[in-house]
Amino acid sequence: MFLEVDDLTKRFGGLVAVAEISLKIEQGEIVGILGPNGSGKTTLLSLLAGLLVPTSGRVVWQGSPISGAKPDTIAAAGIVKTFQNPQLFAELSVYEHVMIASHLALKRLLGSRRPGTFFGARSADRKMQTRVDHVLELCRLTAVADKPAAALSYGEEKMLGVAMAMMCEPKLLLLDEPASGLGPQEIAHLGLVLKDLREHGTTLCIIDHKVAFLAEFAHRLIALQNGKKIADGTPKDVLSDPTVIAAYLGRHHA
């Protein structure tokens, strides 16, 4: 099994943000997680990425348990999460941002031979540059590669967050509301990029409010409400599920 989550629970004091959630993600899948504000979507992703430590339950990644591991260990193992609001340096260029994210790629390439790069390892540098160019192309950022982050549109900023995550060569990419705050055109654009990522062989797990956006290209949807999983299945099944409709539209519509 690629990723298996068993009875994962996170409590913040008296508040149960994530309650006994179990789910599975297969390699190559695109899984959409939906749910109203406060339903525990971001908490769930943060637990998977190691940014939060679960109160109980376990996460098994490619056969080994990772719950409670540090985020950098989990990232090195292949699970990378993006942030809802991209964290960028105003004065650094798009290219430099992606280069900052090259740590894992360089580590995989050189391992303990990294100190050698102090004395000039042009070939490693060139390999990283090629990889940055590739990621920028994948995320449709090649045209703005030399622009400072301050000059980007919000959509481009969010895409830069995805590019930085992709530079880590994730096997499973966790996207935290990639479509929030984007205009219709930017959302269409994001859809194209996500389809490319799938072709690239990256398994995706996306959380968002925009149900139509998720339903369009997710293989499977998981619906959350008050920290609990209320539905899990094909987009069609989940969106016609009475519990999901009730959670979104209020009980009397169901």
Binding site: A101, F118, M164
Partner: protein, 311 residues
């Protein structure tokens, strides 16, 4: 071209000017520039506001002198155990701070507390440090030159060469470091620590590395300072020492290679140019700092490079 090369022409200053005041200001600039460069690594590049560099500066001065004096070894040999000692101390202090996830203000306060602790030990350990009276340093660093044999470094010209060469070596190393993957990891941590972790960077390890490097450089500067001024006192470990270096980095431009050196030059030279009473001087100093932070947050070097980009 590396900006570090801009320091090389400074070797020619003593050829054209024999002005003792100017050369002395420059020697202090170079030595304090090393301290400021170290602080710039941990603050300007890795984004951690430490207050421990003043303590490391003073410890470097005391440790080097005491080893030279008690064991009779040369200045250069005494630097080695000094660096190892400061490295270990940094790992202990850094480990405590970073394990408890202290950030920004909290990190500054706790490192300041450790720094004060070090100062109090020095003040009270009379039998070794001579307490508040301080220590006179009569030994000189020596150098072996082909033909001339072992020569002692004394006088303005020899110290000028030693201080400038030391600064040059430190800035070259810093330049290599911040341009490497280590520098990129520092930048990722400064940008956002959570983000850096999700990019696979062991932020604990790299913060510790930045902290240790900065303290070792501060210790090197302290050792040079003690031997140059021939006097070591507990105030060299004080908060003022830390704040001076912070002011230099802010004024010159943090996150740039030469910013700390420019800042060190202005803040060492300024008191000689402005002939005010001590109180007014302190006020002027404060006013300049506030102005810099408000008007040019990237410091002088940051301002210059922006002009270059615009034109």
């Amino acid at each position: 071209m590396s900006p570090v090369l801009l320091l090389v022409p400074l070797y020619l200053v003593p050829v054209f000017s024999h002005n003792e005041v100017l050369l002395t200001i420059l020697i202090f600039t170079f030595i304090l520039g090393i301290l400021a460069t170290g602080f710039n690594i941990v603050f300007g590049y890795a984004g951690q506001l430490t207050m421990f560099h003043g303590a490391a500066f003073g410890i470097g001065a005391y440790s080097t002198y005491l080893i030279v004096n008690k064991l009779g070894v040369s200045f250069w040999l005494a630097l080695l155990p000094t660096f190892v000692g400061i490295l270990l101390l940094s790992l202990v202090v850094g480990w405590i701070c970073f394990k408890f996830r202290l950030r920004e203000f909290y990190f500054a306060v706790v490192t300041l507390a450790f720094s004060e602790l070090a100062r109090l030990i020095v003040v009270n350990w009379n039998s070794v440090t001579n307490g508040t009276l301080g220590l006179l340093v009569l030994d000189k660093p020596t150098f072996w030159l082909p033909g001339a044999g072992v020569i002692a470094i004394e006088g303005t010209y020899a110290w000028y060469l030693l201080a400038l060469t030391s600064l040059l070596a430190v800035t070259v190393l810093t330049h290599v470091l911040v341009r490497s993957w280590i520098g990129r990891n520092f930048a990722a941590i400064r940008l956002n620590e959570e983000l850096a972790q999700t990019l696979g960077i062991n932020t604990f390890r790299y913060k510790l590395l930045a902290f240790a490097i900065s303290n070792v450089l501060a210790g090197f500067a302290g050792a040079l300072f003690g031997f140059y001024t021939n006097y070591i006192e507990p105030s060299q470990l004080s908060i003022t020492q830390s704040l001076d270096a912070i002011a230099m980095v802010l004024l010159g431009g943090m996150g740039s290679i030469l910013g700390p050196v420019v800042g060190a030059f202005l803040l060492t030279g300024l008191p000689h140019v402005i002939e005010f009473s001590a109180e007014i001087r302190a006020a002027a100093y404060g006013a300049i700092l506030i102005l810099v932070i408000l008007v040019m947050p990237r410091g002088i070097v940051g301002l210059l490079s922006r002009w270059r980009h615009v034109s």
